[in-house]
């Protein structure tokens, strides 16, 4: 009866829900205690568990990782490439190195990106990111399941981390509501736990965040991201450039996976995404090739301005020519999928006995490949702050030191998120003055290395 009641939770009033939650929790007799409970065993949550286990100061803390799905099946490095991949920046790689997961990824497969080219369909403006003489990588393209496999291996080795699969959080109670000293949570299967600190790594619809009562700023972009694994023509060479072209409906990106394979991330309107997903393979491939090559309505003034700017900087027109990505010649069967895009930011990441990481705290457009990297940077900051706090005798759930984590995260995340959101807005229009301005901005950045390096630092860590 009670569970039936909860399933109708959407319709039930908050008061009723709280009443049910109280009853559910009060009926339990014993609940196991952990120092830290992580709700959500996705990329960020599992990496957090591995990083906590690896930290010397936190070595005596018992950690529980809750994951709603079945046990992770592992990753087959000889199997077909997967369609969900991430562009991992230097900071995140440092994190993997520090928890001993990078060697695992290195031993499997990943693709370093030496250069990134970003251009658009309404003018000639273009920007290329690379390190001097391609000395180091701009980012690495890694399959999400491989990252998960690498960090899971570390988690399984850790003596102080326990993983619970098929564990869905039903309700959460925090000290600020109960006046108690622990955070409490109950799973859908009836088990319940208490902890010093409950970490919400449970994604954009975080239950932990709802209980924290923080304000959330969110908007739906009414866009979908279409992903697929693509086969390339023989002209791909070593395929070490990541390509992104802004089209009026949203950016289309080609991320290298191997010399002959690339991963597609195409952000577009919901209807076009649906259409693309259902196209026959040959026509889908044609649509992709067209997306990277077709000239849209040109804004001639913008083209002239870009030319003028380039001549001012003494650039030859030939140097500025757009490189074109390799021709796509096939799509892997069953690799097409789509996911909704949106923007979300929690006004606060912490409260007494609880903290948020990753998508539970922030969600961005994938156009700069920042989403998961911001999540990994949360992990670094949170582990740092928890270790410093514990070494200074603070309770793990004490906001006095958790607030330091929040401050560090906000200082890093907010500018990046605003930047990404701004780019999305800036490129969603064909209005010629905007095209002119953004073209000039991009070309100016391309021609002024200090500014370009600033952006690279921000985005690539």
């Amino acid at each position: 009866m009670l569970s039936l009641f909860l399933h109708n939770g959407g319709a039930a009033s908050k008061g009723q829900l709280r009443y049910v939650a109280t009853r559910l929790l009060s009926t339990t007799t014993t609940s196991e205690h952990f120092d830290i409970v992580i709700g959500g065993g996705g990329l960020v949550g599992t990496t957090l568990a591995a990083a906590l286990a690896k930290n010397n100061t936190l070595a005596d803390k018992r950690v529980l990782l809750l994951e709603g799905a079945e046990e992770f099946k592992g990753f087959d490095a000889s199997g077909p490439y997967q369609n969900r991949v991430s562009a991992i920046n230097k900071n995140s790689i440092e994190l993997f190195k520090s928890i001993g997961a990078w060697s695992h990824i290195e031993a499997a497969r990943y693709k370093p990106v030496k250069q990134m080219q970003v251009w658009e369909s309404n003018s000639d403006a273009l920007i290329q990111f690379q390190h001097d003489n391609f000395a180091s990588d701009v980012a690495c393209i890694i399959e999400n399941d491989l990252i998960l496999d690498a960090v899971y291996t570390r988690v399984r080795e850790a003596a102080n981390v326990q993983v619970l699969n098929k564990a869905r959080i039903e309700c959460v109670r925090l000290p600020k509501n109960t006046g108690g000293r622990h955070s409490e949570l109950k799973l859908q299967d009836g088990r319940s736990f208490t902890c010093e600190l409950l970490i919400g790594a449970d994604g954009a619809n975080s239950i932990v965040r709802k209980q924290m009562g923080v304000d959330v700023f969110s908007m739906n972009y009414d866009r979908m991201g279409v992903v697929a694994t693509l086969e390339l023509n023989d002209d791909a060479c070593d395929n070490s450039v990541a390509w992104q072209r802004f089209l009026p409906n949203g950016p289309v990106a080609l991320l290298p996976l191997t010399d002959k394979l690339s991963s597609l991330v195409w952000s577009t309107t919901v209807s076009q995404a649906k259409y693309l997903k259902e196209l026959p393979p040959a026509e889908f491939v044609e649509a992709i090739n067209e997306a990277f090559c077709r000239q849209n309505a040109r804004v001639e003034l913008a083209d002239k301005a870009v030319q003028l700017l380039n001549s001012f900087f003494g650039q030859q027109a030939t140097q500025q020519q757009v490189q074109y990505p390799p021709r796509v010649c096939g799509v892997k069967d069953g690799s097409r999928a789509s996911f909704p895009l949106g923007f979300l930011h929690a006004s606060s990441y912490v409260s007494t006995g609880a903290a948020l990481v990753g998508d539970a705290a922030h969600r961005v457009h994938p156009l700069a490949g920042q989403g998961v990297n911001l999540g990994f940077s949360d992990v670094r900051y949170l582990v740092e702050s928890l270790a410093a706090g514990a070494y200074a005798g603070f309770k793990l759930g004490d906001t006095q030191h958790l607030i330091k984590y929040e401050r560090k995260c906000l200082a890093k995340n907010v500018p990046i998120m605003l930047g990404v959101h701004g780019l999305h807005k800036l490129y969603s229009t064909e209005f010629s003055p905007v095209v002119l301005l953004r073209s000039l901005g991009v070309q100016l950045t391309q021609n002024l290395p200090p500014i370009k390096n600033l952006f690279m630092k921000g985005a690539m860590g």
């Binding site: 100061t57 000293r181 070494y391 200074a392 005798g393 030191h401």
Partner: protein, 289 residues
Amino acid sequence: MLRNSVYPHSKLLQTLAKVLGRCNNSNSSTGGGGSATLDADTKREVEHHENQATDWWNQNGTMEALHALNEIRVPFIRDGIVARGNVKSHYVNTTKVLKGQCLLEVGCGGGLLTEQLARLGAQVTGIDLADKLIAAAKVHLTELSPELSSNVKYKMEPVNQHAKANCERYDAVIVSEVLEHVDDKVALLEACVRSLRPGGSIFITTLNKTLPMWVAGVAVSEYVLNLVPRGTHHWDKMISPLDVQRILDTMNCQTVLVNGSTYDFWNNSWRWINTTQMCYALQAVKDSE
């Protein structure tokens, strides 16, 4: 020129001293408790702090700045003890870093610092003259930090009495945000040092006796911004680090470290600064001959 700039200051001081005096008088008429053996001034200080007893553990209440101070004073004490080489190396960088250390906290109040040091494994005795605060500390310990109950002892007792019974017993004595409320600093420090074992450290944090400190710490924070309850701090009781050092020198305690600190009220956090003009933390080591 110089006289011109000094004169308004002294005038200002006088005026505000009057305001302070009024405030104190009105305070002393309220509240009860306190030991009969205490002199009137000490009694007033004790009562003033007892009035905050219920709000002591509220992180967003009147003791907000004191909560935030833990962010720097706990590491100062911890690292000070570690630096003397009294901590086994395998405890360093763990949450048991102070395991086996026997600490005395003089003027522990509601136990903000006491509990936090105990959480690092130390055996901490907290003493205070305010029985309401000791009661609040005990309640908090049993209700919200029962895991520390074997590490913490609270007692309402004057320090000289405690030192008589616990001569040269403690590895470290902590006098945090207390000196500025005490008239007879020599007697207090003498008792603290007596209870300290040779080679042990005494840690003091307090406000400096400087004009910037008085303006920011008393005039602005008590009367303009209301960050601290009015009548908490008094000019004539503030003491400079050099004076503390001189007193400790006469008791065979070598000052090894003086760090300046300041409070940023806008984000409720403390930080170390390059000057002791505002607040300071001081560590002195008792000679072991």
